[in-house]
Symmetry: C2
């Protein structure tokens, strides 16, 4: 060892750690860095001999106009001071209808758990709060006072999700007054309140801004994520995490694309062989208890769980049993048929057999059970995308049936049958729902194109989900015909794009990868204005980001969904006029918070950028 530099430093404490001999226990020292808020930016400075610097968390909570709130509220004033408290010192009182109060109790439990998770050593529900704390911290109480004025306990497109939140501190008490029309607003308010809190490193405590006024409501009523659980199975725990993280970002619609041609993981009591033949294995099945659990799990978190049974295309594996055993005949055709390119858009192929009336009986049973499992429904997604006419038109049984019934064999003949199918499906679903009409959602497809949509789809019965591109003229056509729409265009809001190819080589079909900036900046109103001259706010229900899972399962579902799902969430909640740049710092902190909540959200930047705001620019 050459002449080594023992680093003498002013505070005696530091010299203890300079002994070259290995120290077995390590002193935890205050960081040599502190932060100063400078015009909405937290600036990192050396705090040796400097008194008025604060920790990074303290600065983040109080520096910007919206602190670290995400999505950005409609209006908010966030105080510049914080007070310390312990998560054990929280009281709450509620004024609400019984059923709402019962939900609120659960929301408060979630709120308290979210606060525990701010501690860096939180693990499996336990947090080792050690202190030492001063009397002020120990004695400080956070009181929640929640008033909900209606008894709504189910989310619908008409639900008032607005809330007002007022935080004030007097002496050793901080009071948070929440007043909302519905439970769903209250739940959002508790989420916002939890974002006015952070971990205070040096007191091993929590801290909350001492004052805040928030008045908030969403711009779009439908704010969702699509998760495909057929291409690859996604476990119940991963879906729970997805619902938790949607709630953290005030997204309110989990669109469950539960089946497809690849697998049929849904166990149906009256049709057990659908999953027996169609699930990837006995461990890749959603049983009724799982579904009911997730629907309720979502409801408490303000997230509707919307089932999609995609048809008449995107069916296949799981339908093979009918032909063999029951004399039901083939209810799905082109199943796993080769060469797949001739019969569908990706392997394996499969479409319902329009020629076999038993198909409608089985479809009715499927709808019966899905309505029970996901009830009560406020929406139902019929799928309806990527029908391949060649599949039908090269299936002998269907060609014979079309011929016998003089339907013709040209494309329009099949559109007519497809339209007929859709109307029968709608009737079967309505029957399954006790003759109570349910608004249906359909993907854009040939059926929603100009010249077809008016003939087959009534704009009071269907919302059209646009999955093509932001410049697809079908958007303007649909809006001008007064169709309500949901945006999930793949050129901005498909989260599976950009990986390697899974058929052939190179990169997958919708590459490149959509960065959070692109997700954030896509504005449905701007598209509507471009194509129709008006923002069509009454027709645009909202939007969804989609995670198709050809190349995703439990190992990376979190990092694919988040934090880019949060970028979607601010677009749909706040619909900011600015682009991503002013939101970047808040977005990065929100990602950190999501990781603390147990979500394996992807890293967007080096930690250095989080600690040196504004210095990672181009």
């Amino acid at each position: 060892m050459r002449g080594s530099f023992a680093c003498g430093v002013a505070p005696l404490l530091l010299t203890l750690i300079l002994a070259p001999a290995a120290t077995t226990t390590f002193f935890s020292l205050p960081s040599p860095w502190g932060y100063r808020c400078d015009v909405g930016r937290c600036i990192k400075e050396d705090n040796t001999g400097v008194e008025d610097l604060v920790t990074l968390n303290t600065c983040k909570l109080t520096c910007g106009p919206f602190g670290v709130l995400w999505p950005q509220p409609k209006s908010a004033t966030v105080g510049k001071e914080v007070v310390q408290f312990l998560p054990s010192n929280i009281t709450h009182k509620t004024s609400c209808a019984p059923a709402v109060c019962e939900l609120l109790e659960q929301a408060v439990v979630i709120f308290k758990d979210n606060l525990q998770r701010y501690h860096p050593d939180y693990a499996a529900g336990l947090t080792p709060w050690k202190g030492p704390w001063g009397p002020a911290t120990v004695g400080h109480t956070l009181n929640l006072d929640v008033t909900v004025n209606t008894d709504a306990t189910r989310l619908s497109l008409e639900t008032d999700e607005s809330y007002s939140l007022s935080v004030s501190t007097t002496g050793q008490t901080t009071t948070a007054i929440i007043i909302t029309a519905t439970y769903f607003g209250a739940r959002h308010a508790l989420e916002t309140l939890s974002q006015l809190v952070e971990y205070q490193e040096y007191q091993d405590s929590l801290m909350i801004v001492s004052t805040a006024e928030v008045s908030d409501s969403p711009v779009f009523k439908y704010r969702g994520l699509i998760l495909d659980t057929s291409r690859n199975f996604i476990g119940v725990e991963a879906i729970e995490r997805t619902l938790d993280t949607m709630a953290a970002n005030k997204l309110n619609s989990f669109h469950w694309h539960i089946t497809d041609s690849h697998s049929f993981p849904l166990y149906l009591e009256s049709l057990p062989k659908m999953s027996y033949y169609g699930a990837y294995s006995s461990r890749h099945v959603y049983y009724p208890a799982d579904i009911r659990h997730l629907v309720e799990y979502g409801r408490v978190r303000g997230v509707r769980v919307l089932p999609e049974f995609d048809a008449p295309a995107h069916v296949g594996n799981g339908w093979q049993w009918t032909e063999k055993e029951e004399g039901l005949g083939k209810l799905a055709v082109c199943v796993n048929r080769e060469p797949w390119q001739s019969y569908c858009v990706e392997p394996p192929c499969g479409q319902l057999n329009l020629a076999n009336p038993n198909m409608y009986k089985l479809l009715g049973q499927i709808y019966d059970e899905m309505v029970q499992l996901f009830s009560p429904l406020d929406l139902f997604h019929y799928g309806g995308d990527e029908v391949n006419l060649n599949c039908w038109n090269t299936t002998a049984e269907i060609v014979a049936w079309m011929t016998e019934n003089n339907n013709g064999l040209d494309a329009d003949a099949y559109y007519v049958q497809w339209g007929t199918f859709q109307e029968r499906a709608r009737q079967l679903l309505t029957t399954a729902n006790g003759e109570k009409e349910v608004t249906g959602i359909l993907w854009t497809s040939h059926l929603t194109e100009a010249g077809h949509v008016d003939r087959f789809l009534n704009n009071s019965q269907y919302i059209i989900q646009i999955w093509t591109t932001g410049d697809d003229p079908v958007i303007g056509e649909l809006l001008k015909k007064n169709y309500r729409v949901i945006f999930s265009t793949y050129d901005s809001w498909y989260l599976d794009c950009g990986m390697g190819a899974w058929v052939g080589e190179g990169n997958n079909w919708c590459s490149p990868y959509k960065g959070w900036q692109k997700v954030y900046d896509f504005s449905p109103y701007e598209i509507a204005i471009n194509q129709t001259g008006a923002d069509q706010r009454d027709l645009i229900m909202g939007g969804e980001a989609a995670l198709w899972t050809e190349q995703v399962d439990d190992t990376a579902v979190d990092s694919k969904l988040w934090p880019r799902g949060a970028a979607l969430a601010e677009r749909l909640w706040t619909n900011p006029s600015a682009n991503w740049k002013p939101a970047e710092t808040r977005f990065i902190h929100n990602r950190q918070r999501l990781v603390k909540r147990g979500v394996m959200a992807e890293r967007i930047q080096p930690e250095w950028c989080h600690q040196n705001e504004g210095l990672c620019y181009l």
Copy 2:
């Protein structure tokens, strides 16, 4: 509920599950699907009334010429029959030098744990084997007989990693005879043996091919992964998983890019303030015990842990303390200097201060401790990339020093000083290593360009790591001058490419994402032949895939590294003449195996493709 289709089926058992009432306990039934091996392909068939179909795992183990072995051995004959056994019935005997035997005991423990992980319900070291088993399964024993002929216990570029593995079964005993020159070959053999085993779903047991002959050795001696732990901190557990998974794929070099300008997470006992000022927080530090643990963890798994201390560029945060406290003066210049574009390739900037002699003292101390922590070294990586002359040439202290010493101020003047720095660094490292020379590795840079490399870098002292592109002429230049090289060209082997941008918007600098096919197909020998007319096998040490972590931390490090790291592994172990296509089925099964071993490897395809070999094509 309309007239429902109760599905009567032949086997009585099935009717029990058809009752429409919800069943609380579910019967586990054999899958209705089975597999038949047809010319190296596992074909899925309905097994109703068919006797000779086998499970997917059984077919995969025995169908293709190399079963599910990865990387593909040099030569192997894999039997077509399997026998069942339980992981509790494994015995082993070894013939080896004491130090080797001690390592072998650990390797056998790892081998047994890998077998336990085949069970789908393995969790936290425990596996609920339930059976019921027949007497044959209960009575069957797997005997390991391992002979290691030398006493080598440290990996070097000369290590003989070859092995022979012979599996035979007589009655109720399967014997695996392993004969190798070194422990490292034996450990590889045990890994291959574990890949001749799989989970037998219907017996809730393990199964092993009853016979196999494998004779194997790697084509390239240096087979590595780079992990950057400065841009974002990667936890010790994630690094352990990385070493485990490298071992599973017979990669042998974990290149630890431990510091950079962003953070200095390495705790040094003689220089504690480097991490005190440079780590992101007190929780983002590698203490000596962590380092020594990981070095030993790698050694047992046949993976050398190669330290890189990148200099003279890529230094910065962590060096700020010297100027203030000790009168050492500034040892790093341009630290966090703005606008960063003028002084480095990405924020934040920072380079060592050539003008301050104290810099070499501190560098010597750093090397002293790194040599102790990572000893014994067989290689040391000096970094040496992306030096920005403008940073030096706009630092008054350096300009004055250059002027005083009549060094000149043009580019060449600075190359001379950079060369001088590198030689002094090499001497400091040699001294730190007890005057025992260590082969150094340097990144390609201006210093390794034609016209510079001969002047400054002796080809017997340095291996050059090529990070640019596969068509960079510097490759041919270096090979023709007899420099040994390691390939890690970013256009095939950078695993961080393809995400969103982290400065500005769009996609990051080295997009698009490199799919596993591209990683697999890149052949260093082909590049050498293109540029020099010969494959230069004596000069090409091997290659590395790189994971720079500007946009990665613990939440997605696994899915970024794997299974694409496995594609690299077969290229470097087997160097196959064919492209990725014939390897696809084996590659996908290897990914499934890695996930069973607890690695959150990315999903490459729908599970349907894994269960329907060859049908996901373009």
